[in-house]
Amino acid sequence: MAVSVLAILAFLLGAAASAPAQAKPWWMRGIDSNETDFLPPDVAFRVAARVEGNLIKVRWVIADGYYLYRQKIEVKAESPDLMVSPAELPPGIVKTDPYLGTQQVYFQQVEAIVPYSRIDAGAHPLQIKVTYQGCAEAGLCYPPITKVVFPVVAANAAPASVPPYPWESIAILAGALAFLLAGLVLRKGRTLDVPV
């Protein structure tokens, strides 16, 4: 638990630090060291996911001056009991590059909607694997990034893993009553030898 709290703190600090991120144009770069004006890929593209009902919503926050390719975004199931449908993505902005052709891209942010179902609800933590690839407009591209993401269950939404549990409680109660009943039936006509 301490580890996850630390990780969240690091995540929040990182998010705060990167908020005003702005890529400088190509003519502003120094050459003395590799302290470049380009952002590290995890700062340029921040990904997070949450669960709403039977949907997983994956959201990328993209720094100013950076973009993600629509066709390079992919969301797959990582938990063994999870099945996801292909991600539904909004139409992107059409970008035509004479050397790469026409592509749809996203600036600022994008949210993928992924319908999902689970075979064995609750047995495994919900995990998805996301792949994405993007560039800086100033002329730098990052290799495809693949990450395992733990979608968070929204506080005001009923998590999909809840429904089975009331039945478990009833099963426990019914089991206990069955033992009581069996005990009473078996006891009928018998005396218990208890040493006095």
Binding site: I31, S33, K57, L100, C141, F150, Y165, I172, G175, L192
Partner: protein
């Protein structure tokens, strides 16, 4: 102790203990995967594979002062050491076929190879990509300067230049002694290339020292920036 009433009470107690234990167990089971408070606007807990903390702790990689020794395969599959070009100034361009700015640079690199070629300068492409794709692309774009290609091995070479999690393209300029004059991250344009290469030429002909050449390059780039902004 034989009173039937007491036994019923005992049995009922056992059942209650069973139910209590069951419910307690049930509560414990719902804990994994849930229960981490996340503030509004932050949709997800961080990925455990996200090494933001270790990145913060890692020392910043350094661009080497002189050309590291490495070997990679050429497009024919022949292992080629960079020492094959010993004594020449190099423009080493790291690129990939899926990268738009890398593709845009190819005509410039071909022109540089043609324009500066007779002056002991070699343009070398290092494609961090699948060899088949690179061969096909090089034929299509008629790349006429030497191209080396590799996957993890080419990534390792990039890391040797201080670019362990690289973006593409980036271009390394060395003088004839193998000193790294500049590493230019991102898409290279003709005025910058000419500026850096003229300083490389000055270094090769011992007209300047490296610190002065670098200063000239930085000042030149700043002038270009000011001109571009005005």
């Amino acid at each position: 102790m034989n009173t039937p009433g007491l036994r019923y009470v005992g049995a009922a107690l056992l059942v209650l203990v069973g139910i209590w234990a069951g419910l307690k167990f049930h509560t414990v089971r719902t804990v994994p995967g849930a229960g981490v408070a996340v503030p509004a606007g932050v949709a997800s807990a961080p990925d455990p594979t996200d090494n933001a903390e270790s990145q913060a702790a890692a020392p910043a990689p350094v661009i080497p002062a002189s050309l590291p020794q490495f070997s990679l395969k050429d497009l024919a599959g022949k292992l080629t050491p960079v020492s094959s070009w010993r004594g020449k100034s190099l423009v080493i361009n790291f690129w990939a076929t899926w990268c738009a700015p890398c593709r845009r640079e190819i005509p410039l690199l071909k022109t540089l190879a043609a324009d500066w070629g007779g002056r002991e300068l070699e343009v070398i492409g290092i494609a961090v990509d699948y060899p088949d794709k690179v061969r096909q692309f090089a034929a299509q774009f008629k790349i006429d300067y030497p191209v080396l290609v590799g996957e993890q091995d080419a990534m390792d070479v990039a890391a040797g230049f201080g670019m362990s999690s690289p973006g593409f393209p980036f271009t390394v300029f060395t003088d004839r002694r193998g000193e790294v004059v500049a590493l230019f991250l991102g898409e290279l344009h003709r005025p910058q290339a000419d500026l850096i290469l003229s300083e490389v030429q000055n270094l090769n002909e011992d007209r300047v020292q490296l610190p002065q050449a670098r200063r000239t390059i930085v000042q030149g780039l700043e002038r270009m920036a000011a001109k571009h902004e005005s």
